[in-house]
Amino acid sequence: MPNNRFPKLQILSNETHTLQFLLYDTDVSVANTLRRMLIADVPTLSIDLVSVHENTTCLLDEYLSHRLGLMPIRYYDTTVEKFGDASKEFCEPKDCNCEDGCDKCWVTFSLGVQFSDKATDITCKTVSVTSDDLKTDHPNVSMASFLNEEEEEIMQEDGIALVKLAKGQHLYLEAKARLGCSKEHAKWCPVAVATYRFIPEVYLNDTALTQLTQKQREQLVECCPDQILKIDDVTGQIILEPDFEDRATFTEDLHYLQESMKKKPEDEDLITVKQSESKFVFTVESTGCMHAQEIVRSALRRMEEKLIMLKGECAGLSEGV
């Protein structure tokens, strides 16, 4: 359904950190735009400036800074009561009105750990410095932690490990986080995965399929790595798995195999798997810095902003400005 400009959205599953939804009544350009915005345009907070005061650990200053940058930071959006869009409170320093940094553009974290602080007993050889050791005064900003209790239980550390300290080692540093988006650097990327796939449309050519031998049918079923087909126990005919839509991957295996089964090359296909051109299943998985739902919202807001801007520009063009 090309040129349909009234897309609809249906949520399939909504968990804190993963979101699945169906986008339909639109075409691929919109879907891809949303995907690209999710990955590259959602603003988040991330550590961008690190002043290392003292570092006697085994890791290098720039290595630690790089690791710090990659740690997701949460912003608790009080309006929606979720971890959400930090751009509501912060702005990028380059857009800020202040001259050399203010509370709106930078969040300061401090970290000061020495081995003896954390060592539980004398047998302890190493202690871990984790994201939990990064402290900030800002009430709504914190380092991301585990998704759920279950995950927390299987982890050995209380947060994301930064470095291990041996006896006598310490680490003092100050880190400043700012708003940014993943276009600039991947550390601002809010999503681990943001992807979509087309809903498959499978047509079984029943008349042609009935003429196949049982062995050929079995071959057809087996060749699909995504297991979308099965043989009906009663009739012995090929039928679709009930949840084929979730699994179909559009690989060419089926295509090649049935080519070899045709009597004449120009015969009609036995099974056709087509991509729906107007339905897209999205999967968004957060890194932990925002709720998945908020990421999508933020992305849509950004898209709207851009479209409004584009509209304005276009209007200007037509007026001949």
């Binding site: 990327c189 992807t195 559009f250």
Partner: protein
Amino acid sequence: MSAPSHSHNGVSSPSTLANFRKLLAPHVQGYDYFATDGVTKAFNDVEKGDVQIQTREMSQKPDPNNKPPTVKFWYSNPKLTPPSTRRANKTVPFLPKHARELGEMYDANFTADFHFQINDGKTQTLKRNLGKMPVMVGSVLCHTHNKTPTQLVAMGEEDKEFGGCFIVNGIERCVRLLQVPRRNVFQAIKRPTYKSRGSSYSEYGVAIRSAKHTEDCSSVSNTLHYLNSGGCTIRFAVRKQEFLVPAVVLLRALRESTDMEIWERIVRGDEENTFLTDRVGLLLHDAKQFGLHTAEECKAYIGARFRSVLARSDIHNDVDVGQEVLDRFVMIHCAKNAEKAECILLALRKLYSFVQGDCAADNADSMQNQELLLPGHLICTFVKEKVEETIASIVMGVRKEIRMDYGKVLAEYETPKFWTRICDRYGGGSGGNIGKKVAHFLSTGNIISSTGLDLMQVSGYTIVAERLNFLRYISHYRSVHRGQFFTTMKTTTVRKLLPDSWGFLCPVHTPDGGPCGLLNHLATKCETQTAPMPTSKVKKIPSLLVELGVTPSSPITPNASYDVLPHNYLTVCLDGKVVGGASIVDCKRVASTLRLMKVNENIDSSIEVALFPPMEGGSGPYPGLYIFTGPCRFIRPVLHRESGKIEKIGPMEQPNMEIACLPDDIRPETTHQELDPTNMLSLIASMTPFSDYNQSPRNMYQCQMGKQTMGTPAHALPHRTDNKMYKIQNPQAPMVQTQRHGEYRMDDYPNGTNAVVAVLSYTGFDMEDAMILNKSAYERGFGHASVYKTKIIDLKDEAERMGGKESRLKFSNKKLPNPEAEAAKERRRRRNEDYEEEEESDLIDPSLGDDGLPSIGQWVSEGDALYSYVDELTGKEKVGKHKEMEKACVQHVRLLGSEGKFTTGGKEKSAGLERLSVTLRIPRNPVIGDKFSSRHGQKGVMSILWPQIDMPFSESGMSPDVIINPHAFPSRMTIGMLIESMAGKSGALHGRFQDATPFQFHETGNKLAVDHFGEQLQTAGYNYYGSEALYSGVTGQVMHADLYIGVVYYQRLRHMVSDKSQVRATGAVNQLTRQPIKGRKKGGGIRLGEMERDALLSHGTAYLLHDRLMMCSDRHVSHCCGRCGGVLTPQTRRNEILSAGTSAADMKLTMMCNDPGCKDKVEQVEPVSMPYVFKYLSYELAGMGIKMKCELSQ
């Protein structure tokens, strides 16, 4: 493979260390032999020195009643003590890390007893210091010897420090293993150059590299030359001079024998062979001319001729000198004269058989006829020669003292004091003491020798063991060189891969290009016999052989008569000594019995039993049964099928054995089987996954590239001072790895990253072996790396550079009162009343600490201060700057030396803390143009960082880290990489490491590699063949074809753009021609050569050429006289007419031509722009009296 192969408890297990120590045995155990037995044996084997206390006049007119006293002297009982140093008046162990960090030699005290004896009287002993002997890390002398990984870490070493290197000036150097002719075996050689020895010389010869029976590792080569007259001479070198002695003279000198005996023992009853009988007749006939009949006469004849070259005094008579020649230069692997004679007889038989065509020439390039020259053994022979030289130089020294003051010497020569002085003054010789000479050898790789040590080359013995990454480091110790001589040879025969080297040398791991085939690497399981078998065991073997049915030859039978074995008997030799003979059938039986005894360990298992049965038509080598027990032989384990035990076989026996590789290869006559088909690969080559699927040159390339990878060079980084080290910051264990990778715990030194690789042509940035890198992958740390550089700043060198030896430099950042500066300030103050005193800091550079050193963690850019020092005498100060363009971080600062004076390495080191060692870390994250490669010889440069949103993505949301072009595969046929991709993908999906050992899958087997991994992929819900439908990141559409995407281990190579980029607008020029200089370091340009010029001309780009060759090169505006055309004659001249009011400064300079013809003529001098070389040319021509004229036109 379910578990990763890296160690868990912080340090590696002792068994891994043992594995590595086994690999290093040729180095470490060879040195151990030197340090324990070898050095003592070498000292004991040196001829005693003797000197008569008499003047030249006395020796010319000997007084029979008053014999001058003779003093004999010699060294014995050499002692090496583990390295130590004195600190605070205490002797403390000197560890390898100290040597590294101090930039010094890791060496041990070397002492020996000096004995002297006057006229056969009482022997007196003095203990003398022979300097400091360099110590091999990991050897018995080293503190790291046999230490556990935990202990090693405590000593500041790697947990897998296996040693093998010497530390020279803080740099690790290793002695190359060399392939040399096998010891104690006769080789039939046909060489046209042999003809040049003399008119009757033929191209036939039989050569032996005879190694001394005392096992001091020294050797002498003897060659028997066949003369066209039928005779034979034996060639050997004494002090680098070659001598040829008739064989019969030597034979007779060795054993009292008649012509009849010699005849019978060569012909051995084969009277029908008229070729042989004729020649032996001629041989004996030729010898008649010397008129020598008895052994005494022969020895005296030889002795008289060698007296001068051996520098033997009159104390020794000719017979003694003759015997000495026999002892030291003829068949020295035999102790007794009779044994030597027996050897020469065997060589003669072989020579005649060879000339007749009954046996083929032995191939000197075959490993059958080769062994290894071990570093320890080389040092042993070197030290032995140096002791000989020391003795000789003491003799010369005493003679010199006598010449200078006979009376004083006569009065003192009996006192130990005299000999102590002589020893210390003359014992060193010109190059210092023995230890110093060994140190010099190690630091330069050059052997300075008076005898040549029976070696083929004088230089190139040592190399720096670069620790670029672990693979490179270990491969230095497993590399084997064929010899420098062969690198210059035009023929490629020496470089050929011969089947004889199967299992001993790796067929894959050799560089392409110059050293191809000459620099090989030992197969992983190839070992070397490092020490000789104990004499007690060797002694039992001859009698055992006789028991088994070998008929002994004469020397074994005690009676003076001789036995002649039948000519159809094969000779049985033990380490080159003739034991006897036996029939072919008996020999076969003896050989197989010995092999069984060897396998069952009834005799030593290191023995090598090589049986050469006679071959039809003289196509094979000279038949015989050769048994070897000696050191330096290559050996490797194979399975003895009958007993199921492991037998170690050598390259000489291997070609005549039946060894199956795989179970399929077993035939009825098969006796042995390979333990593992991968045993033929070197350690580096066996790291390549699925190498059996690749086209072979690709595996060679990977062996090269593996050694150029930025990886994990070491873990003991704080204690390392290597000039340059590369380290990647986010290394991973390869998900697809071979079994040997696990066996040697290579995951402890990872060299790359598992990357998601898609094979497709996307964006065009992946053309011509370029690869596209995902920008986000890069930002998350892909390929991030640093370079570590260590610099040593020595204030002594700085003082010399400053010219004044009077200076006293000290690292400091505090300004000292400088009289000159104070005076200048005072002058200024006096001149200018309102001079304001500037607030001056008392620091030389504010970025440095008070001690003049940088702080750790400080970043320095080009031109920033790195250190500062002051001259305490003059008050001058200097700041040392960071000269490189790149920003660097100070990783380590070490101030070397100690307060006050101290001694190490036998010399007094600078007083105080005068040396500084700074380690800088330069971050080198990937930039466009940096080189990456997979493990299959597929290298490419990163051409762009592509944004993640534009990268293709799969339905699961994955986007590749790396995109490579499919054109990389068809011509290169690196199927191994495709399989690695599948294996890596399924490994990632199932969460397990994959086994990629070569030869695990076979095309006739029940499962192919593709099916194995395809099934795994299918169970994970992916395409069987590893391809996936990818969506374009730009349009969001599914791409038309399924794309191959998987996980491949990627290495980052050390070739980086930032090391190579060269650009210049203006800069340094050559002084003479004023053209830009070359060289990146000096800011030079890249030559636009003739061919480039031609190309530009052909495009008609005249302006560009003008710009390149003139404007950017040596453009020069010169004045040229329009009248005479000279460019040299115009000169500036001052306007001589002065008008009132013009000051001298305003006077105009005018150009006038100085040519006599143009003088005082109207000015026609014009400025002309020209290349400066043009002017230079006219100067040069003028120097030859030629005037160059230019015609000027508008």
